[in-house]
Amino acid sequence: MDSRVLLQVMTASGVKVTADEAEVVARSLAPIEHAESELLSSLSLDISVAQFVGLLESDTAAGRNT
């Protein structure tokens, strides 16, 4: 995201943010956005956040645990 647009988005939260800080955040967001394009492009509509908790405790996840 362009750092000037980002500055507007961030200051809308009520937090004072400088242009330099927005520039640093923009750089931090770049790898996140790259990961998004790589990992999330085929994410199914049918997956919910709550399923993660169930998966951790499921038999599917269990293996040799001792």
Partner: protein
């Protein structure tokens, strides 16, 4: 008796049980060592000697009166300054909470109290648990007991340094992106990051509720398992706590010293990310640690793995929006009271869109499914480094909130943070020293709730290696 601070926790418990050691004597030995070492390391932010002495007197009186004692009877511990104890200041490593006094006690502290442990004070940490190096502008940097010019690791910096230096027998830490495993690795102690929801987070300062875990650091694997057995298990006070009962962690290590004790265990070495761009010296130590496991009967296999580098980056889309939502009122009203680095990292959360946050949170299910299917179908656990390079100096990592900050810190947490995103347990175990005299560690990564297996394999390694349970010359 020689200096009792050199004992392991389990040895101290045995001597206490047999009547060869009492709680007051052990506490005074620890407080004396703290007084000598604290100026060098800065690992404590606050001691509570009178409360500790009172508890130790009570413990000794209970023994004299023939009353039952707990499994940690009279054992001095100290904890990262983010676990609430009703009526006592809890700074969370910050200026903002310098006077914060909670009105509740963390479940983990209550469980250790009930087991008979003596809480001697609060340990240094990164501000609000945001920082993997041990720097803290408000309380000063916690220094590495192996070489004070090097980082202790963070954010549970004081926990790693205090346990390594023999000031206490164990310490609580929290791990949202590596904050138990990094200081454990850098200071040469054992640290467990549990499965998400295995240990209660009630009464622990939150950072990112999806990723937060409470772990523990100790001098060796057996001590770590003993402490973990008291901490693990369901907690009705914690909505994120899992209902699954705790396993038998100490019992899992019963055959650790026997030949072939790891027969049938398959240890996977991932093909991507975790070993990429690794330092040669660190790689050699890790290869040696795998050979020890192999000699115990473990089968070492190469395993495929997804793009955990991208997972590492994606975890920021969960961590920082959750963190900034907690800190928004203070960021608006008291921005000057944050260290530059903490503030810079929190601001990332303001830049992540709501759809991206939700998608990253939803994707955990799909990525964990993929990991279980493609990787854990071929092995019982992973063997990976905690740090890819030797422990850096404080100067090398003193980046504040500068433009290079994100890249520098991302390199440090590259091998720890993906596992928080996936919710998996991981055990950091020392494997020796690099030429610079600083520790290195292997990280054993298990399926959900496989902590007992991690302890079993870690203990087998320690039993057959002269490189576990390191003690710094301080």
């Amino acid at each position: 008796m020689n200096d009792p601070t050199t004992l392991s926790l389990r040895q101290a418990v045995r001597l206490m049980t047999d009547g060869h050691l009492n709680a007051e004597a052990l506490l005074e030995a620890c407080l004396d060592r703290v007084a000598r070492v604290q100026p060098k390391l800065n690992c404590f932010v606050r001691l509570r000697p009178e409360a500790a002495r009172s508890a130790a007197r009570g413990a000794d009186l209970a023994v004299r009166q023939g009353r039952a004692s707990g499994p940690l009877h009279g054992i001095p511990l100290a904890h990262k300054d983010m676990f609430y104890r009703a009526g006592e200041v809890c700074t969370c490593g910050s200026k903002i909470r310098a006077d914060f006094v909670p009105d509740l006690t963390a479940t983990v502290l209550a469980r250790l109290d009930a087991a008979g442990a003596i809480d001697i004070g609060r340990l240094n940490m990164a501000e609000f648990a945001m920082g993997p190096t041990g720097h803290n502008e408000h309380f000063g940097r916690c220094r590495n007991p192996w070489n004070v010019e090097h980082i202790s690791g963070g954010s549970s910096s004081g926990s790693g340094a205090a346990v390594a230096a023999g000031l206490v027998f164990g310490a609580l830490g929290s791990d949202t992106g590596g904050s138990v495993r990094l200081p454990a690795a850098a200071c040469g102690v054992v640290g467990i990051k549990p499965t998400h929801g295995r240990v209660s987070t009630f009464g622990a300062m939150p950072l990112s509720h999806s990723l937060d875990t409470v772990g523990v650091l100790a001098r060796d694997v057996g001590d770590c398992a003993k402490l973990f057995s008291i901490l693990a298990g369901p907690d009705a006070s914690d909505a994120a706590s899992k209902r699954k009962p705790a396993d038998e962690y100490e019992g899992a290590m019963a055959h650790a010293g026997e030949e072939g004790s790891l027969a049938g265990v398959i240890v996977g070495v991932p093909s991507r990310h975790y070993y990429e761009a690794i330092d040669d010296e660190v790689a050699a130590l890790l290869a040696a640690s795998r050979r020890v496991l192999e000699r115990q009967g473990a089968k070492i296999v190469d395993v495929p793995i997804g793009d955990h580098g991208a997972i590492n980056d994606l975890s920021n889309a969960v961590l920082w929006p959750e963190a900034v939502s907690l800190h928004l009122p203070w960021l608006r009203e008291r921005p000057q009271d944050y260290a530059a680095q903490t503030r810079a990292r929190l601001l990332v959360g303001l830049g992540v869109s709501a759809p991206l946050y939700m998608s990253a949170a939803r994707a955990r299910t799909a990525l964990l499914q993929e990991f279980l299917r493609d990787t854990f179908s071929r092995c019982d656990m992973l063997h990976v480094p905690v740090l890819k390079r030797p422990v850096p100096t404080a100067a090398e990592t003193d980046v504040g909130g500068s433009p290079t900050m994100a890249r520098t810190l991302a390199q440090i947490v590259a091998n720890t943070r993906p596992l928080n995103y996936l919710g998996l347990p991981a055990l950091s175990v020392p494997i020796g020293l690099t030429r610079s005299g600083l520790p290195q560690a292997m990280q054993l990564v298990g399926r959900p709730f496989a902590e007992a297996l991690l302890f079993r394999v870690g203990a087998a390694y320690e039993a057959k290696s002269d490189r576990g349970a390191l003690r710094p010359p301080i």
